[in-house]
């Protein structure tokens, strides 16, 4: 299973923490598409705490965290 953690506005009408069968997805981008998130809206993607690209591969047991832009002062 892949653990998905969504933050800030990505949580609206979605779960904060979700799980997807690792056979269903190959890249972080597949997860973004699965949730109907516009890839352009993803400011930060972390895989197991490491900065990652949406095109990076994911494997069983990974934790993928997705953040929208947050930058106000």
């Amino acid at each position: 299973m892949i653990e998905i953690r969504l933050f800030a506005t990505f949580r609206e009408n979605r779960k904060k923490i979700d799980y997807i069968d690792s056979n269903q997805v190959e890249k972080a981008l597949d997860i973004v598409n699965y949730y109907g998130i516009d890839p352009e809206d993803v400011a930060i993607c972390l895989i197991n705490g490491f900065h990652s690209k949406l095109t990076d591969s994911i494997k069983d047991g990974d934790v993928v965290a997705l953040f929208p832009p947050v930058g106000g002062g």
Binding site: G49, H51, G71, G72
Partner: protein, 233 residues
């Protein structure tokens, strides 16, 4: 007597209070986060605060930037903030700098500073501050807020920075959403982290991104890793 309610805290004490009074802190940005942070640091007795901000007060600031009044509109934020804070704690040395912090002036504007607090509203300045503090190994407390969501990080040389998480690629869209009650929560955590670093407390945010969700009132620490691709590490 002034600080007695905090010096009786075991984690602060007289020793911690002395550290606060000896500390030199730069707060970059005197907007939403900055107003709350400046107030908290001045009231707690941080001895020297440099306020770096080049903006003037506008009507849209007044829903959250409590330091400013209607009669301050169009006036320099730095000047108004210095006067406001001076009246609240005359023991604090306040140094107002009416300039925008850039790569070119960062060394000059952040000279002799022990801790930097980032309260700006744009990615470009955040990255300048991040790079300077990582290069010089100066503790940086970073925060940002949008609507009901915000984050706080503590950064220094041997810990993950904004570049480590790819923050430089963040593209902010349109006008930032902001309500004072939520901005204040994020800013208070940012100010508390500064105080904890100065006093020498444990349980700091280095290596983590604290995500604050004022929609469901949850707070989560997200562990971060140093990135091989980071230009600063």
């Amino acid at each position: 007597m002034r600080y007695s309610r905090q010096t009786i805290m075991e984690c602060i004490g007289d020793k911690g209070q002395k550290r606060l009074s000896n500390a030199k802190v730069a707060v970059i940005g005197a907007g939403g986060l900055g107003c709350f942070v400046l107030n908290e640091l001045a009231l707690a007795g941080v001895g020297y605060i440099r306020i770096i901000e080049d903006d003037n007060v506008s009507l849209t600031n007044l829903n959250r930037q409590f330091i400013y009044k209607e009669s301050d509109i169009s006036n320099s934020k730095v000047k108004v903030a210095v006067n406001y804070l001076r009246e609240r704690n005359g023991l604090v040395e306040l140094d107002g700098v009416e300039e925008r912090l850039t790569e070119a002036n960062a060394t000059e504007l952040l000279k002799n500073i022990d801790i930097v607090v980032d309260c700006v509203d744009n990615v470009e300045t955040r990255m300048v501050v991040n790079d300077y503090c990582v290069d010089k190994d100066i503790p940086l407390v970073e925060a940002a807020v949008n609507g009901l969501h915000g984050f706080v990080m503590a950064i220094r040389k041997n810990y993950p920075c904004l570049r480590c998480i790819g923050y430089e690629n963040t593209k902010l869209k349109g006008v930032n959403e902001a309500i004072g009650a939520a901005v204040g929560i994020v800013a208070s955590i940012e100010a508390l982290e500064v105080i904890k670093i100065i006093v020498g407390m444990n349980e700091l945010l280095y290596g983590n991104m604290l995500m604050i969700d004022c929609n469901d009132y949850s707070i989560e620490k997200v562990p971060l890793r140093l990135s091989d691709e980071c230009r600063r590490h």
